[in-house]
Symmetry: C2
Subunit: 280 residues, 2 copies
């Protein structure tokens, strides 16, 4: 029986192995600056943070530790968003409460210290994020620990920080909506047949077809994200979906369309599925 | 800084990711009963055993625990041989003695208890092995723990067991020859350029061209193993090695030629390279 931390690590590995996953690193494709190997090293490096979450460390501290380990080799961001979903899920699982309600309790229990650790995590690697709120530029996550005094002045918990970001970031939206899409992804994964990484890739496509990816929206605008989702849907529903999705994967890599948030949610879904006894 | 147990886990992951690796599961190929995902789960499952080796547990106990974790999902044998190399290497590294002499000390310090745990490990999954010595059929490893009283009657340590097998099994030969090829593979990996998994695949081909794979010999005979090595050498030295090696990979899968021992030694070489600071 794998512990929750190990299931989370395995979920990260199965996520990246799933192919075709248009626009993302997968078993068949690398990106110009990100190689499959970096994801393997990132998953192995993150485990101490995941284990901290399992052992009851504060969520922010466990996340910061996971990101630090993930980025230890070269400061690459391979699984920042996925870890931001997995850490509270591992915590909920360790409390035998891996459910929407259980994750809501984990989220609402976060403190200002958790928010401070979350900001510190941005110092370990580059994270592509939206501009901060116009009325609170001092809360820019890219300031890292320099923003902590401002965070404390505003009295913000990590849950508050996520509420501030939920409109433009579907990882934050999971935090504030009981991990709705993560749990739905887990159900989809459990219903499908075949190797788990392939079920993850199929679920990736379904999610991308249903919800414009917010990382794509941040980088290329909401129109581009919506169009990417429509193309995913067309490829999935094509007469020869296999060829269409492979072609789309090449196009997205070419165009720099990288639906990373969707991949993060698939990793979360794989974790929940593994916890529920789906076997690799 | 990764611990030795984590480097060993990462070595298992990088090994399976390397492609093309004719006849083996790799980033592009699965075998009929073994999928890439099973290797990911095997590596994650083995970590408790690797950590036990790092923390000073007896080598046999750490190995048995690693194999048990590796096989926990479905009793599949994904990395039995690789773990048999990695456990003593992790132990030597934890004693700051990751050298041929250091591994010899680890091997010579093994006891009858280590031998008994080694036999127990065979109960967790199917391992393809040669027939036992004609004069000692009771020492057949496939008997698992039933053979332990006979082991004890013979007074055999795990080092003794490896000496009995070295002629037909190059994993055992590493144990009795200061991990000679594992260290040489590590040097080769350090000298090459590119992503570590690709360097592993290239080293796999060099090893296979130089030494007939003993798992292939056990399954198909020594002639078949020698011919497989010659074909690997020809493909590597072809005018278009990339196409030739890809073609050979398809042929080997078709013919059931699975050079698993060579892959085990690559995993050991990747571990040593990571310990020496080669970065993924």
């Amino acid at each position: 029986m794998r512990t929750s931390a190990r299931n989370a690590e395995l979920a990260l590995l199965l996520e990246v192995a799933g192919t075709p996953k248009p626009g993302n690193v997968d078993r068949r494709r690398d990106l110009p600056d990100l190689h499959f190997d970096h994801f393997l090293a990132g998953a192995v490096g993150a485990v101490d943070g995941l284990r901290a979450a399992e052992d009851g460390a504060p969520v922010g501290e466990a996340f910061e530790r996971g990101v630090r380990g993930m980025a230890a080799d070269h400061g690459r961001n391979t699984q920042f968003g996925a870890l931001l979903l997995l850490v509270p899920l591992v915590r909920a699982a360790s409390e035998d409460a891996l459910s929407p309600g259980g994750t809501e309790r984990v989220v609402e229990a976060t403190t200002m210290d958790d928010a401070a650790e979350f900001y510190r995590a941005f110092e370990h690697c580059e994270v592509f994020v939206d501009e901060p709120p116009e009325d609170a530029p001092e809360l820019d996550v890219r300031r890292g620990s320099e923003a902590i005094p401002d965070l404390e002045r505003h009295g913000l918990t990590l849950a508050d920080v996520m509420r501030m970001s939920e409109a433009g970031d579907d990882v934050a939206r999971e935090w504030t909506h009981g991990f709705e899409r993560s749990f739905r992804a887990a159900e989809r994964i459990a219903d499908l047949d075949g190797p788990l990484s392939e079920r993850g890739a199929r679920t990736f496509l379904d999610l991308l077809a249903a919800y414009p990816d917010t990382l794509v929206a941040t980088k290329h605008g909401e129109g581009a994200a919506r169009r990417a989702g429509e193309r995913a849907k067309r490829a999935r529903d094509a007469d020869d979906p296999s060829a269409a999705v492979e072609a789309l994967a090449d196009e997205f890599v070419e165009e720099g369309i990288n639906p990373g948030t969707t991949a993060d949610i698939v990793a979360a879904g794989l974790f929940v599925a593994l916890e529920r006894g789906v076997e690799p």
